[in-house]
Subunit: 415 residues, 2 copies
């Protein structure tokens, strides 16, 4: 029988009742003969509590992006607790189960703490245990460094653990159980006609994830794409036996009927920075964005336009609202060095995007998009595109209107 | 500079403020040039919370004394959190500190889970780190089995961890910081004139600990005695710089002025079981106590008296109230097999003891004790003695009166 990896997030293991339901799901699947490795997150709220304690103890020693090895010792305890509890709950049901902590399954990490990257697995007997019929209950989010210290993978790291374990075990699939029943064409809170997608390609899911759909962590989708691990997003909140097909995230080739557009995403966490009267000579932009990079400002959309035909240009770029304060401070300080006249920061903007692998082979997609927005009198500020995505920056007040208009324009509304 | 081991219990690390105070104490001592290994318990309340979760998840799978490997995975996370938090708090003060979990310092255990015994330490670099000036912050209560699983030492196991680490590091002393400022001649809640002892022998401390004084776990005192580790009990609640001598627990030879009696202890967790009309022939008692042993009933005091000079005897023994129900059930069921007429269980009894190494060389101690109780009209039910202890079983209503009378009779009242 093939090996299968299951992953349960924080809301799925929020308390003992939910852990018991998860144990029932696992018992059912084990009863079907599946050889299971199960990755668990911390009970919801626990990681925040532990982060609060760690920050409280360290005070100024933990600042911004600076996390360290001891922070990881503290926060990784949340997944440890869940793995032990789920193993106990499975044994209560007469199943052969045991917990595996990061150091026990020897998931080696590199590049520091708090946002470590997975290097690989040392032989720990995990695969043999799974093949022998033992349900491996793995604490997500944590690994161990070469020096034998605990390291965590950063927020959402349990998704990444699940995919890494699935790849290492050559699992036939990796089921991500969560509190929604799949990936939707857009946010159902904004568009009630939003539909659950049956399948979506890795590339589309990556764009969805990085553009604000919070179902899967970006790194886990990248890893699944690289190792060709079929992912499925499904609900841990449906009753046993109830229909629960979820959404498959797989290679484009496995999707026979490709939609032109599969999803509409939006993000209000956007700021638009306009630099006026920048010296229009080689190297100026490079200097500007090198500075942003050094300050850790993640620049997204960029537009440059010649302003007045007199050796001066205007430059527009976007970043997250959190980064925009940093950008503003450093740009103001370096105005003379970079060479520009004035700047302006707007935070009342939103980014709305359409995503679909079908765009690669269809024309007229941008036209449909822009026309739908024009029909609603929505002004487009900045445009950026990739092979499978078109994003526009608009006035934040128009976000919901734009999402609904595009959802209808691309025939995504449920009947 | 010599190595020193410090241990901080649950109330000493109850919250971030208390952890900060502990960090201040450690910083002060490190500033004196001491090479420190620090053992920490879980924040007070955490272990109970985790035990509750584990029992909730396992349901009937955890019953009575049956604990297992996954229970240990869950409950050991409490000490992990504290060790990380204290390391962070020390680093905040500019000190070189790191946490050590059970598996990292390779504290090997045997004899199962939940109440594992320490087998020894594998080389982990701990001693080198301490000698190099790093403050080792060690998660107490936890070790690792030969199979690489987490194992806990049972309640109070952090004391035992501290002494084991002190022995392994050849530390000059092991300071047990707690919420009292030392070991007292008796319970100050009953006798306001109770005095802090300056020194007490391991043997006396063992009797104190096993008789109900909850300052130190019995196993840790045994271990300290076997490895001749000088222990000190002192308060983590005094301000820095304030007088805080604590109580030394050391070998008898290091105590120059030996008191005849050093402490008065009491325990209300006692039950007296009287077996009437037992067949007075060889093997009957052996069969009775073998049965108690099999049932896990820890028998304490035993008295046998010939009852009627007709081949029948009465037998009296004591055990904890918790064990007495088990004893009652099994004895009732086996009445015919053991051969006795009837039985009686009294739970309104208390044990009061006097403890002192000086008894070995002084006479008249028992006389003084019995006379003091007689003067207060307290009836003695059962008596048991060891080389450094005399215990009496009395009516529980007289407990405080007896303790006060004995405290005065042996000149222990503070002036």
């Amino acid at each position: 029988m093939a090996r299968t990896v299951l992953k349960f997030g924080g809301t799925s293991v929020a308390d003992l009742d939910r852990i018991a339901h998860v144990a029932d799901i696992i018992a059912y699947r084990a009863g079907q003969g599946e050889k299971l490795a199960v990755i668990v997150s911390a009970m919801s709220g626990e990681t925040n509590k532990l982060v609060g304690l760690a920050r409280g103890a360290a005070g100024d020693a933990i600042n911004g992006d600076h996390f360290d090895d001891e922070y990881d010792v503290v926060v990784s305890s949340g997944e440890q607790v869940t793995s032990g509890l789920l193993a106990l709950s499975l044994r209560k049901r007469g199943l052969n189960a045991r917990s595996w902590l990061g150091w026990q399954m020897a998931m080696k990490t590199r590049e520091g703490h708090g946002s470590a990257r997975i290097d690989g697995f040392e032989d720990s007997g995990l695969a043999d245990a799974v093949d022998g019929g033992e349900i491996a209950v793995i604490a997500g989010f944590q690994g161990v460094t070469e020096a034998g210290r605990v390291a965590t993978l950063g927020r959402g790291g349990s998704d990444t653990t699940a995919v890494a374990v699935a790849a290492a075990l050559n699992a036939v699939q990796c089921d991500i159980y969560t509190d929604v029943d799949g990936v939707y064409t857009t946010d159902p809170r904004i568009v009630p006609q939003a539909q659950r997608l049956e399948k979506i390609s890795y590339e589309e899911m990556l764009e969805m994830a990085s553009l604000g759909a919070k179902v899967l962590q970006t790194r886990s989708v990248e890893l699944a794409m690289n190792h060709r691990v079929p992912l499925r997003v499904l609900s841990s909140f449906t009753a046993l036996g109830e229909d629960n097909p979820g959404t498959w995230v797989c290679s484009e080739e496995e999707i026979v009927e490709k939609q032109v557009v599969n999803g509409i995403t939006y993000s209000r966490d956007e700021a638009k920075i306009t630099i006026y009267g920048m010296a229009d000579r080689p190297g100026t932009s490079a200097r500007l964005f090198a500075l942003m990079g050094r300050e850790g400002v993640n620049v997204d959309m960029i537009v440059q336009a010649n302003a007045r035909g007199e050796g001066r240009a205007n430059m527009v770029f976007t970043c997250t609202t959190a980064d925009s304060a940093k950008a503003e401070t450093v740009l103001t300080a370096q105005r003379t060095e970079i060479g520009f006249e004035k700047m302006d920061v707007a935070r009342d903007v939103a980014k709305v995007s359409i995503i679909g692998v079908g765009m690669k082979s269809h024309t007229g997609v941008a036209e449909t998009m822009f026309d739908a927005l024009y029909q609603k009198n929505i002004n487009i500020d900045v445009i950026s595109t990739s092979e499978i995505k078109i994003s526009v920056l608009i006035d934040a007040d128009y976000t919901e209107l734009a999402v609904r208009a595009l959802h209808t324009a691309f025939d995504l509304d449920a009947q």
